[in-house]
Every structure is written in C-alpha cells, then in structure tokens.
C-alpha cells in the first residue's frame, strides 16, 4: 500500500489483482450490464490511483475502493438513463447465460428487472446476490439506511408480483 502511494505502479497492480473481483461485483450490481461494469471498474481503479494521496492507511482499502467503485458505477448509470425499460428488458433477456434457468423465468425476470428503478435494482442485487447489509448498501449508494430497506422491500414485492403466475405454474 505504501509503495503504491509512493507511485509504484507494480504495487498498485497487486492491489488491482486483489480487489478487482469485489469491485466488479459492486459495479455489476449497480450498472447491471457486464460491459458497463467493466468500464466502472477500470474508471474506479484509475480514480483510486489518482486519489491514493488522500487515502488514510488506518481505513480499510477495500471499503475505500468500494465507495469509489459505487460512485463510478452510479456515474455510468446516470449517463445511461436514456435507456428505456423495454430496451433494457430485451437486452437483459439476451444476456442471461445460465441454461439451468427456464426460458420463461429468464424472460419474465428480465421484464420485471427492466421495470425496476436503478436504485431498487442495485439494492436488491447488492443485498440478495452480493450479501451486503443495509448499512453497507446505504454507504455505498450514499442513501439513508431506511431508503435501502424500503427499496429492497419494494423491489422484492414488485418482482414477486410480476412473477406470481410463473411461481404458481
């Protein structure tokens, strides 16, 4: 860490290797699309490298980096707000890669995800898929903890409502 702070790029490469998977998971939860997640990770590490002078060694590097990744991913999400729900649903349906999931579930889930707002979608993925707590999600997304809880509740309810027929079938 100290070597990286002195500008040693090979030392920073070690940090990238160590943290890139977690960074990808956070970014992917927020931007939801692989290519955008990759961009967010690269942008986040670049920002982290440029801001290493501000990093306090007493703070965990992973937590500091996670916030930078979340911010980079949120920036990408804001830039891409123009994407319509239908386009997103179609896009997501094409990108499901688990052959074990039924085609119907994939199609319906993709449609449901497309109707969720960016923030509730990020919250449900961070919580249910990545295992973050409400407190951690609140810090990552810079929202109140109560908002994170509320978003999770509404996202789960909406997905369940949209997939109820499928569940019963």
């Amino acid at each position: 860490m100290e070597a990286a702070q002195r500008g040693d790029q090979s030392a920073f490469a070690g940090l990238v290797e160590l943290h890139q998977r977690k960074a990808y998971a956070i970014a992917r939860a927020i931007v939801f699309v692989h290519e955008d997640a990759e961009d967010a990770v690269q942008e986040a590490f670049l920002r982290a490298y440029q801001a290493l002078g501000k990093f306090r060694p007493e703070e965990p590097f992973g937590a500091w980096l996670s916030r930078i990744v979340a911010n980079a991913a949120l920036d990408i999400t804001r830039r891409k707000k123009i994407r319509k729900a239908d386009e997103l649903s179609e896009f997501l349906a094409d990108r499901f890669s688990n052959p074990a999931e039924s085609e119907e579930l994939r199609r319906r889930l993709a449609g449901a995800l497309g109707t969720l707002g960016d923030r509730p979608r990020s919250v449900i993925v961070l919580h249910d898929v990545e295992g973050y707590t409400h407190v951690e999600i609140a810090k990552l997304l810079a929202i109140p903890e109560g908002t994170a809880r509320s978003d999770l509740h509404h996202a789960r309810r909406q997905l369940r409502k949209m997939l109820v027929d499928l569940k019963e079938g």
Partner: protein, 124 residues
C-alpha cells in the same frame, strides 16, 4: 427504525434470487481477470502520460513567452550594438572636428625663418 423493519419484511424469492445470482455471476476465467488488470494498468499508464503532456502543455505557453522576451531583448541589444558605429560614422560626417591648428609655431620654425631671412639679405 423498528417500524421500518416491521413494514419492510418482504422475503426474498429463492428462484428470483437464483436467477439474479446467475445473471450477476462474475466471469470465472482467470484470463479474463488478468486482462482486466492489464486494462486497468494500461489506462493508468495512459493517464500518467496524459498528465505529463498536460503539464508540458501548461509550461509551453509561459515558456514560449519567456523565449520571445529573451529574443526581443537579444534583438534590442544587438540593434544597440550595431547602431553605435553607424552613429559614430554619421557623427563623424556631420559634426566638425575640433579645429586643429594648421600651423604650430615652434622654436625650430622661428630659427629657420631667421636663417632664411639672413640668407636673403646676404645674397643681395
């Protein structure tokens, strides 16, 4: 907070969660992560180069201004040095020199004159 916890208690749907997890699974191929790391480091290196270029560009304008000032000063000095002999020459042409005596009376000349006069008298 207790109210929120009581209110927002919708349980996760295992099938939905499973599908979400499948969709969000990170690439497992190690080569992918090596490439991503290389991409990150390449971007950092490019950014560092850009930073140096920006620094250089930032110095370019003041540097050019300083060089121009030095050139102007050098040209002015050169002009001053070249102009000086010309002024002297011009002055030498236009100004009259301090009048020099065309004939300076000396003891030697006086003696010669006396000898000349004596020779003239003797010859007559």
């Amino acid at each position: 907070m207790a109210d929120n916890e009581l209110e927002f208690t919708t349980e996760a749907d295992p099938r939905v969660t499973s599908a979400l997890r499948a969709h969000h699974a990170a690439p497992r191929d190690e080569a992918y992560w090596s490439e991503l790391q290389a991409g990150v480091m390449s971007r950092i290196a490019a950014s560092a180069r850009t930073s140096w270029l920006q620094i250089a560009a930032g110095w370019a304008r003041p540097g050019l201004a300083a060089a121009a000032a030095v050139l102007i000063a050098a040209a002015a000095l050169f002009q001053a040095n070249v102009g000086e002999p010309e002024q002297v020459t011009f002055a030498s042409m236009t100004q009259t020199e301090p009048s020099q005596p065309e004939f300076i009376y000396t003891e030697h000349d006086a003696a010669s004159q006396r000898e000349e006069t004596l020779r003239l008298v003797v010859s007559h």
